[in-house]
């Protein structure tokens, strides 16, 4: 029986080089290796085009290629008879293959040699199973579908966004043994992604940022395509990406307002999956491991399904907070006011980038910084502590980008940064679309001038 192309995906992981045979106009065959065979769909593969060489010359001449691939488990050989269709030089498929090629190049010490010029797309005319293959003995591994089902069930129980984000990352660990994960939300105004939740790192990194197009996370977001890398690769390390992007940004965003990215310094495997609704980017789910080739095509499939569900739920929960629930009763557990005592906390606000410093330590900037400043000023003026998402949305001074702006995610970011850096100021959810500001030390507010 002819196997489906999808069932051969493990052959395309790059563990064993794939050999490609073509034929010149003069009838002379050519045989060499192709860096990357990429599964596009059940009837198409894409091959990496890096140099104009004999293979490419032949393919452009008569369109035919035969690729022999090997499964990395039992070394089963398969031949794909291909017909060339077209070359893509930009877009999701191209970026995906470019990231993978960078990983292969880095792994094989050929970073300077390998550069993707194009993704050559072929129709798979026929698959031949080389006779005499040994039976595959795939090592036992966790069942992805049952893990997915359990993760989705955990997520469905979440009544608010903060819980949803944490439940998702906890589920990845308990159901799939994915121990290092991050969730980043997209800020369309500043074209960057900011971390709202993380799991498995020494420091949470909440509030750290990645520019669109930078590193594996930024490219996955920009192209709205999952990117999976099975080897350590310098170019796509987000630490590197973060350093580069901050180096490029303006003087107001130099190191003092940079929150270091968490993350493994020596990630062997990385997978970034965009959270999208239609064509709208909400954020990125990122997982990594010190182990090389940790994530397979199947893992990618499962995480894409998970990310789809997560995006839907983020949207639902965010919309729900626009219509606040009934005012909570005074007997609510969180209604006990903290006692204000101790030394005063100096809070300085820089209006030009909405950055907030607490006792000269950077806390937050941007929309979340503007929100924090508004809350603190209102509290100072009137002693007010109860607020709603809705009034923030309607406050023109905050300049929230538009209704698709994920205000709830900003509040989670602010809440978590405060918890980490300034516990004297705390935000507590008091109901859907409602929260309370708890201040436990005297505050000295100062609006600073830039420069």
């Amino acid at each position: 029986m002819t196997p489906s192309l999808g069932s051969l995906r493990s052959c395309f992981e790059g563990a064993v080089p794939s050999a490609i045979a073509t034929c010149g106009a003069d009838g002379m065959p050519n045989v060499t290796y192709v860096s990357q065979v990429h599964y596009v769909d059940e009837h198409h593969v894409a091959l990496s085009y890096q140099f104009f060489n004999k293979t490419r010359d032949n393919v452009l001449d008569n369109g035919r290629a035969t690729v022999q691939v090997v499964d990395p488990d039992a070394a089963g050989h398969y031949r794909l008879y291909l017909q060339y269709l077209r070359t893509e030089t930009e877009g999701p498929l191209f970026e995906n293959m470019k990231a993978k090629l960078a990983a292969i190049a880095s792994h094989t010490g050929m970073s300077k040699v390998f550069r993707l010029l194009g993704s050559d797309i072929y129709r798979v005319q026929r698959i031949e199973v080389v006779p005499g293959n040994l039976p595959s003995q795939s090592p036992l591994r966790d069942n992805l579908l049952s893990g997915l089902r359990a993760c989705l069930a955990d997520m469905a129980l979440s009544a608010d966004l903060a819980h949803l984000l944490d439940a998702t990352l906890a589920g990845l660990e308990s159901r799939w043994n994915i121990r290092h994960s991050l969730l980043l939300m997209f800020d369309p105004d500043r074209c960057c992604l900011y971390t709202v939740a993380s799991r498995g790192y020494d420091r949470s990194g909440v509030g750290s940022e990645i520019c669109l197009g930078e590193g594996i996370i930024g490219v996955a977001a920009r192209e709205q395509t999952p990117i999976r890398i099975g080897h350590a690769v310098q170019e796509y390390r987000y630490g590197e990406a973060a350093r580069r992007s901050f180096a490029r940004s303006g003087a107001d965003q130099v190191l003092d307002t940079e929150i270091p990215f968490p993350g493994l310094p020596d990630a062997g495997s990385q997978l970034a999956v965009p959270l999208v609704l239609g064509r709208r980017l909400l954020g990125v789910l990122y997982v990594e491991s010190t182990q090389e080739k940790r994530f397979s095509y199947d893992d990618e499939d499962a995480l894409v399904v998970l990310a789809g569900q997560l995006a839907q739920q983020i949207e639902l929960l965010s919309l729900a907070t626009e219509n606040p629930a009934e005012r909570p009763g005074s007997k609510g557990v969180g209604a006990i006011r903290p006692v204000v005592r101790g030394a005063a906390v100096a809070v300085r606000f820089f209006a030009h980038n909405h950055s907030l410093f607490v006792d000269n330590e950077y806390l937050i900037k941007g929309v979340a910084g503007a929100i924090a400043w508004k809350l603190l000023r209102e509290h100072a003026a009137s002693g007010r502590t109860e607020f709603t998402n809705r009034e923030l949305r309607l406050d023109a001074s905050l300049q929230l980008p538009d209704v698709t702006e994920n205000l709830e995610a900003r509040l989670i970011l602010l809440q978590r940064r405060l918890a980490e850096r300034c516990p004297a100021i705390a935000i507590h959810k008091t109901g859907r679309g409602r929260f309370r500001l708890d201040i436990s030390r005297p505050l000295q507010l100062e609006a600073a001038t830039a420069g």
């Binding site: 064993v16 080089p17 050999a19 490609i20 045979a21 073509t22 034929c23 009838g27 002379m28 065959p29 050519n30 045989v31 060499t32 290796y33 860096s35 140099f51 060489n53 004999k54 008569n62 035919r64 290629a65 035969t66 690729v67 022999q68 090997v70 990395p72 488990d73 039992a74 070394a75 089963g76 050989h77 031949r79 008879y81 094989t108 050929m110 040699v113 390998f114 031949e128 080389v130 006779p131 005499g132 040994l134 003995q137």
Partner: protein
Amino acid sequence: MTAILTDPPLLDTSRAAFLLEPVAINVASHDAGFTPSIARAHGCRISADRRQVTLFLSVLRSRVLLRDLRAGAPIAAVFARPINHRSMQLKAPVAEIVPLSPGDEQLMAAYAEAFAAELSGLGDGENFSRAMVMAVGDEAVAVTFTPTRMFEQTPGPAAGQPLESGT
């Protein structure tokens, strides 16, 4: 392109020695409609004058390629060392398919052992390494050709450059 016997052989001693290292060998040809055929070889032997290269192929696993070669189509073979990616391609306008000679099975066994050791040294599992060089045994045939063209094939911009004898 016909090799004249007084010309030096295309393969100098160092290149001939490379073909005998633990290299992956993939062989290609094509049918009348120019559809390429491809198969893996399980070792090789080089004539004393270095003019002839003989590859060992499984009949079972190389059916289409052997059919094309038998029909008189040209041959190409790429030799690639997994540990350093050094690669070279040989081509010839014709190849002859003949039974194994005495000693060929021993050459195939030695090749299998060396190639499996190379893969294991790169971190491939024992089962995988062994499966890659699975016993071909007495059903193998010898494919003999006189290379007339030789190309650098090590990945990089120089890949595909023709190599001359003695260069």
